[in-house]
Amino acid sequence: MQNALQIVYLIPLLPLIGFLINGIGRNHLSKPVISLVGCGTIFASFVLSIWVFMQVKGGNTYDAHYFNFISVGKLVIPFAFKIDQLSSLFLLIITGVGFLIHVYSTSYMHEEKTEHFGRYFSYLNLFVFSMLLLVMGANFVILFIGWEGVGLCSYLLIGYWFKNTTYNKAASKAFIMNRIGDLAFLIAIFWLIAKLGTVSFSEVFSAANLAKLKALDITVITILLFVGATGKSAQIPLYTWLPDAMAGPTPVSALIHAATMVTAGIYMIARSNVLYSLTPLTMDIVAYTGLATALLAATIALKQNDIKKVLAYSTVSQLGFMFLALGTGAYVAAVFHVMTHAFFKALLFLGSGSVIHAMSGEQDIRNMGGLSKKLKITFITFLIGCIAIAGIPPFSGFFSKDAILLSAYIKSPVLYSIALFTALLTAFYMFRLLFITFTGSFRGTEEQKHHLHESPASMTIPLIVLAVLSIIGGFVGIPEAIMHGGDKLTAFLSPVIAQHGEHAVSHSTEYMLMGLSTALVVIMIIAAWFVFRNYQAKEATGLGKVLENKWYVDELYDAAIVKPLKRIGTFFNSVFEKSVVDGLVNGVGKAVNYSSRQLRLLQSGQVGSYVLLMVLSMVVFFIIQFFIRK
């Protein structure tokens, strides 16, 4: 039976072809051609994704099986795609936001040399390919292939300006921390194979197989998967790579570290929601880790002075919110927040890119100020993004964040209050960023002031599109309390994510919560306005200094982990390698030398000793012949 969705293989295939064309031809093609290939393939994938989405909305899901990737004994792991509601939604986000960022990049990166320009776009296409593989995979292994692929592309793109050693180190840091998480992910996959003999989603999540797993198995597997997610989605303790990853070009930060790669962990857990719902322990771990990360990152963001670093910590914080949602059972809320976050975070990053571009590469906000006059479009879109992230209705951020806060409240009011506090901090630091950058008087150099100009259309149009999405994107998930039947998202995702009964709270409580959060957020914004309206850069002291230095977490890791590892490595090199390994290898040579020297003495040239040896060997031979071999 032919399924219309058979052509889904084109969706990842086109970016892969784009990667190959741009990668191989980067020395020969011209910049317009490279841009066309790079953006065109993503656009085609986007169009296909829209079509797929319409199909799935109409109820047509598809499991595409291509070939057996691994076939060993009884274990068969197919290379298969699973097109259902969850994956089609993510497809839209990835290709849609990805396309906008590609278009933005053509202008942002236009000062690069052609071959580097081509390299950039090939990496971007490869990244989109890997991410698509990740969300379309029908089993944990294909997901993991995409998982690794995006990690690789993240490394390649963070270290894009490879001549700078600091950037290279940041790229390595990202990759290594990802790897640590990946190890846990792999162990989880192995555990699954050992217990169930399969890794396909449909088979693992079937009731029969779930009954086979003991409670311990499920807990361990889900915890291991979550550790993998902390590496990829930058939660405690594997989050320190994300701020350093800002070394890459700004569109990269927007695509990878705001909209897509970091949401891979959320996707994975949402996909495995059946497993997670069975272990309250893991859910608690997820929720508390997410909340702690959110709070920590928010406090650090309060005192950062690099425009991109503020946004990076904001990303970590928002990801923490998403994990909080997952941990309290609100899978749909988490996916909803992924979507809205993709919109406004990408918008904020691209906006910051626009600012940096205008400031001729300056990223320190202490040297900015008063940019709203010269960069009007950037300012307005940035403002919209800030409002969305703060969560003011009717912008998209409000709906998704409120769903999360509600779910936290249902779980425990303490969780809710801490989450609410973090949300307030979010509003505060985002508007701090906005006001310091765009209001007040200009604090930069004369030359920078001279150069200030609004970005070209290819950069501002994506900004505008994303701003519009940030405004209206929330309307797919209007909660029941406001509008009956307004929560289209939950209904859409219900085949994949089971509905969790009715609300545990009454509508009036919901209204009260919504009103409370909105009011407090507005108060915070006004407070920020007063504090930062005419900002003067000051030396940070006391708690501020601690926050500015990110709670010294990086230094802690360095002292506790990096330095001992380096010492072990040096020890192995100087002691073990030199004496044992070298000793062994050289020792063999020395032994051969020595024994040959001794043997050479046998060749004395003395006939007498030769004859003696002859006689002795004859004796031995006789003994063997007559007495031993009976």
Binding site: Q603, S604, G605, Q606, V607, G608, V611, L612
Partner: protein
Amino acid sequence: MVKKNNMPINYYIFLSIALFSIGIVGVLTRRNAIIIFMCIELMLNAVNLLLVAFSKMHHLRLAETNAVAGADGQLFVFFIMVVAAAEVSVGLAIIVMMYRNIHSVDVNFLNRLKH
């Protein structure tokens, strides 16, 4: 049971072995090349003795069927003597050459083989 005119063969065997070993000890113990040569002759003779004894043994066993049953052994001894003679002549010529070059018949001086 020993007949009047027969010797058990193992006496000859042991005698021959004894003479052979004496020859070997001589070869290993002496440094004079000529003496070593002579010990080799002793060894050869021990073997000759044994061969003759065996030929008589075969003759005893097979005399009814074959009148010349053990002749091969003695003929072989004859040829051994032939070869020994030739070998001695050539060997002594070599030793004389050696003496002419290094003025000694010490075998240890032959370690030039090493080079």
